[in-house]
């Protein structure tokens, strides 16, 4: 636990807190990006290059943009003065607490299950690639199929109106 770790942890937590507490929704999204960046830097601090760069590429490059687009395309970025409160906040709180408890338990438990590594393992990107298309090829393909199906589904949902419209048009 070095100074760098505490610095990055502070950035990440501050970003997450700001994402919850800020009034303007776009500000929240940008604060969330700061949290993503902090996580990526934490990965890099642990010498996990692939995870760190993939985190930046996917979460900052794609997910943050997606969030921002969704906010701008659905409603104005200003929140009403009295705020928006979901009626199912109690259930949400319970789910959040449960997820946090499971994750916390897993993290605390992992010290006993996994033997303490004395040396830092050298993992190159090539090894990760070989593992992905070797041992873990089935999960990878399933995820790929799932994502492709989701993509096609999204396109069909978006296209639906247009197909009907084209039929009505006289040729």
């Amino acid at each position: 636990m070095s100074f760098v770790f505490y610095l990055l942890a502070a950035i990440t937590v501050a970003g997450g807190l700001a994402a919850m507490l800020l009034k303007n929704t776009v500000h929240c999204a940008l604060a969330l990006t700061v949290a993503f960046a902090g996580l990526a830097l934490l990965f890099l601090n642990l010498d996990a290059q692939f995870a760190g760069f993939a985190q930046i590429l996917i979460y900052i490059g794609a997910v943050a943009i997606l969030v921002v687009f969704a906010i701008l395309l659905t409603r104005s970025s200003e929140t009403p003065r009295d705020g928006i409160f979901s009626r199912t906040w109690l259930a949400g709180l319970a789910v959040a607490a449960a997820v946090f408890a499971v994750l916390g338990w897993a993290v605390l438990h992992s010290i006993q299950v996994l033997p303490h590594e004395t040396a830092v393992p050298e993992v190159t990107v090539q090894q990760i690639g070989v593992a992905l298309v070797g041992r873990y090829v089935l999960p990878l393909e399933i995820v790929a199929m799932l994502l492709t199906a989701a993509l096609i589904g999204a396109v069909i949902v978006a296209m639906h109106e247009k197909v009907g419209h084209e039929k009505e048009e006289p040729k």
Binding site: V26, L30, Q49, A54, I56, I60, G61, A62, L72, V125
Partner: protein, 391 residues
């Protein structure tokens, strides 16, 4: 002597650092390299702006800048002084913090890309194992800066420009990555220095650059198209379409902040051309084996400036695309071509040496290209022009 010329910047750095105590040397070396990058590319930016204005003038049959210095050579200096002394106006309704952060984030992420580019033999700031991934991670972060600039200005032109820019950058990032993946498949590494090393061989005096293979040639064309869109250059300059959007996402920026956007655009052009050079044009390796005595950094920067020249040439030649044409082109033509190119690269990798793989890979790519082109043309239903609004 040849070796000294080749390594002159590396030797210079070592010599300068050797004056410091041993514990400081690593840090000082990195600092020196960073300073060199931050000085060289803005200087090139000045040259490129002058070249562009002169070149466009030549194409459009006019003179271009000719008032400041001989042939208008000092025009960039005058522009620099002008933008430094201008008032920095922030619109009263703008989101001041985000408005301020956007140009900084853009310039920083654009400059980060140079960290992994090998600009000559042993001339790379950090030789990362996942260098290409780092480069693309940094490239993806520029989109957020563009969005921040457009949104925080509270101006409909800015916001529309930013939305267009981000949609375009996301769409063309897919072919950009896909065309680069083919190179990674053949070179077997994400490290840019290793990709250059893999191309630095010669047969009968000709280099083994990836552009001289069927999949590499197709990949390079796709990469060039995607980079032009990624840097918002003509014919893909819709986000800054002057006739529609004033200046796109940097409409509300003035003075030095505007200069930063301008700088970032050109520096991104340099860095993405540098990456293209590294991936397809052999990086710092010489174009013929009898020219290997010329310093490696000379070749890198020559290829870079050649790419800039092509960028300028295209800007002066091609008209701007429409938004739907832009998106259709990315998703219906460039992306499928990139996927087929991946197949061709895979075949190339596993068919072994010989003429057969040349025939098979070329045939696959050419048939796909011709087939998709014909199918698209048929779908166009080209007929006499009709006007919807203006009779």
């Amino acid at each position: 002597m040849i070796d000294t010329c080749d390594q002159i910047f590396v030797l210079l750095q070592h010599w300068l650092v050797s004056f410091l105590p041993a514990s400081w040397q690593t840090g000082a070396g990195v600092l020196l390299s960073v300073a060199a990058i931050i000085c060289v590319f803005p200087a090139l930016f000045a040259v490129a702006v002058w070249l562009e204005r002169k070149g466009l003038g030549r194409i459009q049959n006019r003179l271009g800048p000719n008032r400041v210095g001989p042939f208008g050579l000092f025009q960039p200096i005058a522009d620099g002084i002008k933008s430094l002394t201008k008032e920095d106006i922030v619109p009263s309704s703008a989101d001041a913090v985000v408005h301020f952060l956007a140009p900084l984030l853009l310039v920083v992420t654009v400059f980060m890309g140079f960290a992994v580019l090998p600009m000559g033999r042993n001339m790379v700031l950090v030789d990362l194992d996942a260098g290409l991934l780092f480069y693309f991670a940094m490239g993806a972060s520029t989109e957020l800066a563009v969005f921040m600039a457009g949104w925080s200005s509270r101006n409909k032109y800015s916001l529309l420009g930013a939305m267009r820019a981000v949609a375009q950058m996301i769409s063309y990032e897919v072919p950009l990555l896909m065309s680069s993946v083919a190179v990674v498949m053949i070179a077997g590494s994400l490290s840019l220095t290793k990709i250059v090393e893999a191309q630095n061989h010669y047969t009968w005096g000709f280099p083994h650059w990836y552009i001289f293979t069927p999949w590499g040639f197709a990949g390079f064309l796709m990469y060039a198209i995607a980079t032009t869109a990624e840097t918002n250059r003509s014919p893909f300059d819709l986000p800054e379409g002057e006739s529609e959007l004033v200046a796109g996402y940097h409409t509300e920026y003035s003075g030095f902040k505007f200069a930063l956007f301008f700088l970032a655009e050109y520096v991104e052009m340099f860095s993405i051309s540098g990456l293209g050079t590294t991936l397809f044009l052999g990086g710092w390796s010489a174009p013929f084996s009898f020219l290997t005595w010329v310093p490696s950094w000379f070749w890198f920067f020559s290829k870079l400036m050649l790419s800039i020249y092509v960028f300028i040439w295209m800007r002066g030649t091609l008209p701007r695309l429409r938004q739907d044409q832009l998106m259709n082109f990315a998703w219906k033509f460039v992306l499928p071509m990139c996927l087929i190119n991946l197949l061709a690269a895979g075949l190339w990798r596993f068919m072994g040496e010989g003429w057969l793989r040349w025939v098979v890979c070329s045939a696959i790519l050419m048939i796909t290209y011709a087939g998709m082109g014909l199918a698209e043309m048929r779908r166009q239903r080209l007929g006499p022009r009709s006007y919807r609004y203006a009779e």
